[in-house]
């Protein structure tokens, strides 16, 4: 099935991308951007969301041993108006022992610049990490429209 078979108004308001290889990072990034555009976010906001999705997907692969990037629209229950877009990155990797440290600009246990998570925090409006060592990590971020 291709996305061309959808009518524009039937385009999904959520995405799920399995991230297990480098090519999946781009796929997650592209899907997040398309979703943001479908939800009529501004172009700047759509780029911010796409970049955040790319960072989270890279972390899933390089630190979490693979996982899922999920994103969906947040609706006002009364008016059905789109309020925002929530991105979730889930993995069952090693977890993060010190979340504050992981959020420090320039801190990386790999060969990265260590600006992924601090970058996502700045690009998005809400940001939260839940992690259990040995069990996995869930990063949640919201962009309001």
């Amino acid at each position: 099935m291709t996305s061309a078979s959808f009518q524009p108004q039937q385009r999904p308001h959520h995405i799920d991308v399995a991230v297990n290889a480098e090519a999946d990072i781009q796929a997650a990034c592209r899907a997040a951007r398309q979703l943001a555009e479908t939800l009529e976010f501004s172009r700047t906001a759509a780029y911010h969301i796409a970049t955040a999705a790319s960072e989270l997907a890279a972390n899933l692969l390089f630190h979490g041993g693979g996982g899922w990037l999920h994103a969906h629209a947040l609706f006002d229950p009364q008016t059905q108006e789109v309020l925002g877009l929530e991105v979730l990155a889930l993995d069952h990797g090693p977890g993060i022992a010190d979340i504050a440290l992981a959020l420090t600009e320039g801190y990386s246990t790999g060969k990265g610049l260590g600006c992924g998570l601090p970058g996502v925090k700045r690009l998005m409006d809400e940001f939260m990490i839940e992690s259990t060592v040995g069990d996995g990590t869930c990063v949640k971020a919201i962009k309001w429209r």
Binding site: E22, I25, C29, Y47, T51, S54, E55, C115, R122, L123
Partner: protein, 130 residues
């Protein structure tokens, strides 16, 4: 995927592509380093027009490439930073792209040429006079 390296006299031009994997990046960097040494390049323009999302991974590849070039004694400039990429980069982290940036290739080449000239390196102008 292989990234072509174009030559313009003593200046090299590379265009970073979206689907660059970690292995591609390493291959491309070693190709570039080899070429810079071989032709004794005076400058390298790193074109990122094709990138509409520059995340921290891409930023690292771009910065590493620029500093490798500088370690070999050549000037480097990043060009083709898309307006929305610039907006996002500023939000993400001001200094994510460490090297000098130019809007387009023409501007980038101009910056390179000026810098090469101020360095007092006459090899480029000699080439042009041939």
């Amino acid at each position: 995927m292989k990234i072509p390296i174009l030559r313009l006299e003593r200046i090299l031009l590379v265009s970073i592509q979206v689907d660059l994997t970690d292995n591609d990046a390493m291959q491309f960097q070693s190709d570039l380093v080899e070429q810079v040494a071989e032709i004794e390049a005076l400058g390298v323009a790193i074109d990122i027009t094709a990138l509409d999302v520059v995340d921290s991974y891409m930023a690292r590849v771009i910065n590493d490439t620029a500093s490798m070039v500088r370690l070999l004694g050549a000037e480097s400039v990043i060009c083709g930073v898309q307006p929305f990429v610039a907006l996002t980069l500023v939000e993400m982290g001001r200094d994510l792209l460490g090297a000098d940036c130019a809007f387009n290739l023409g501007q980038g080449l101009e910056i390179l040429r000026t810098r090469i000239a101020t360095r007092g390196d006459t090899r480029l102008s000699e080439d042009e006079n041939v």
